[in-house]
Symmetry: C2
Subunit: 454 residues, 2 copies
Amino acid sequence: MPTLEQFVARQRSRMLDELRALLSIPSISTDPSHDADCRRAAEWLGDQLEQIGCPTVEYLAGDSHPVIWAEGPRAPGRPTVLVYGHYDVQPPDPIDEWVTPPFEPTERNGDLFARGATDDKGQVFAIVKAFEAVLAGGPAPVNVRFLIEGQEETGSKILFDLLAREPERVRADVVLVSDLHYYAPGWPSVMTGLRGVCYVEITVRTAKTDLHSGLYGGVAPNAHETLVRILAGLKTAKGRIRIPGLYEAVDRPSSQERDGWNELPFKERAFMRDEVGAKALTGLERYHVLERLWALPTLDIHGIRGGFTGEGAKTVIPAQASAKVSLRLVPNQKLETVKRQLTRAVQALAPRYAQVDVELIHGADPVVVRTDAPPFALIDRAFREVERRGVTLTRSGGSIPIVPELAKEGAPVILTGVGLPDDRLHAPNEKINLAQVWKGVRVFGRFFQLMAGK
Amino acid sequence: MPTLEQFVARQRSRMLDELRALLSIPSISTDPSHDADCRRAAEWLGDQLEQIGCPTVEYLAGDSHPVIWAEGPRAPGRPTVLVYGHYDVQPPDPIDEWVTPPFEPTERNGDLFARGATDDKGQVFAIVKAFEAVLAGGPAPVNVRFLIEGQEETGSKILFDLLAREPERVRADVVLVSDLHYYAPGWPSVMTGLRGVCYVEITVRTAKTDLHSGLYGGVAPNAHETLVRILAGLKTAKGRIRIPGLYEAVDRPSSQERDGWNELPFKERAFMRDEVGAKALTGLERYHVLERLWALPTLDIHGIRGGFTGEGAKTVIPAQASAKVSLRLVPNQKLETVKRQLTRAVQALAPRYAQVDVELIHGADPVVVRTDAPPFALIDRAFREVERRGVTLTRSGGSIPIVPELAKEGAPVILTGVGLPDDRLHAPNEKINLAQVWKGVRVFGRFFQLMAGK
């Protein structure tokens, strides 16, 4: 019976081939033209789960983005671990900035570059392989169930609906979510909070049709000009969001939690230069960078549509313009309230001659997690054995909309991961560090054993 | 020998078929994938000019966007009329807003809808047919030369270079440019001025790569936010352009010229509602709308690139954003100076952490035309005979970059046209009114006769 370490050493090359195969499938859930690819990625994972010994593998509620439901061999009397993850990925745009194609996984200096490498395929893969390693060493030590969806990047509608109908799916002793990352290399982390998100499209209409700027420039309202003025009005140059009431609900982290953050090996200059890749950090200067990232609401513009954006010069006065804009929400803020506050602020900035609409595209409430249940001590120990350092309690600035649903039947939810902070998820040249994947196999395998009391 | 009126009545149906054929060619000069179509449009026109009796038809200086040079039969001792026009057209975007496809000319209520219908194929066509009508009635009354280019919409580089090498091409007794429009139905017009244009792309770069707003939102600079702040800073909500020095050079029109404009049948409310299709007009309120359109500089945003603009929600913090922006210039402003002033203003609005570049894509100095040479009285008479109203002196807010070059050898330049103000050039559902085309055949035919003293 091989140990977890032996398993990884012997199977590494085969596992790398498998991971490459999974990452080669362009399962972009935001783009309907990739529906078949999403289905393909689900089936690839389902086949894997069968091969490693899961007697039950089902594809639930969805032809194109099914939820994978798998159960390992029964371990009567033992606890149940529910594993959550997702096989869908973000679009690869801007495609030009990838050094190697996003769906041709390429290894460079120990990193594997591909869209979805860290978010979340590589991490789901590590847990599947961890379970394979455990089963290779003997009978199942715990009951393991997998709930792997294909719409995490688009709002998890299928899974929300499924859990509303069948809440017992999340009845477990612990939920393990590996969709996040270390605080820093060598510093594994468990998250105590996730930000929510309020993602909208703001559309401005100023005339019946686009007009020629030669003929009408100087008097015709310009939809882009109106939009730009609204967007510039939503935040000060110093980073304060100008939406009345927005900051009122914000629960500031306890001084204890903030003290913990101060002890993290955070170096602002290196973070700015090496991770963000910028010449300055923005936002509310009087708050620590980690508080700005984890515990303060934000507002970002993602893109602006309308008018002429092709090559060359077209002298059009756009009649319509729209911007994709999102706010990240922090504990005690409510998606519904923020959406209302934002809409009101946008309307107040709009001139009377413009028709302005705010449409919610995607949203999630923020999440706070208590970390005092026993499984947290076990994941800490698993990391400690492999990494020689236990977990640090941090937060994530990102959002996983389904997390509150996973917790609804009372199971503690462990938000963790083997990604690294520079994995560039959602950005060009996303990667996962392969050493982290192999560590993940050992950590999560060890966690399954520890849950069984071994 | 048919009169011009008889010619039009008899040949109308054939001419309409020909005009449809010309408008069916998608000769979009801004898009290299349409280079062959531009060539095709040039050859179509060249063939026409041969068929109507031009002994010389040449394609000069350019495989894909040649300048057509044609000469009618010699008329020794008679004056020479140089006809300028262009066969290239604007892109049809936004394509969704066309009622019928832009390159499938469709007649509705006496209007022919197609990209290029009024700008400028339909108008070039009217002059070619006018010359055909004149030649059908006997020997050439005057020497007519055609100079028809395929890059008017992209800056006329080939023609500029050609005229620099061979300035004698524009040696003529008068230059006739039919690329403009009536002031109003029944009100033919000759333009005394054209605005110039300074069309740039402003590019902002704030980080090495796009980032995930979950992970970095709150501290990472956002290229769109920076761009939006710069753009909003370039103009007040009341329409004053905030570029230091910009208004200093502006030559206000004489009170005499402005008095003339006041006598035009201009109705602000109808103009706003029916032509602009908006609920308000913008710009500097203390100036008359016509002065804002013809004699004041403007600034318009045409489109913004970068980030994510696809379907759904991608939570990216864009590292790069760029805007297409243009200013229209008025008499006494200089393109070079304005480009410098704009660049300085943009740089002054940019935060230090952003790299901001301003690139000139397309430009033209403004034009002022004196209208006291004898041919102006003749075009006035030609219009008066056909339309029962002589020409009104107006200006155009648009730009035709090559016009100053056409005037360089001393020929007076008649800027006129048979378009109507609601022809929607550069916009979806561009059209030309067919009655205007047939009037154009008669007016320009009559002008050729009058130039010969007939």
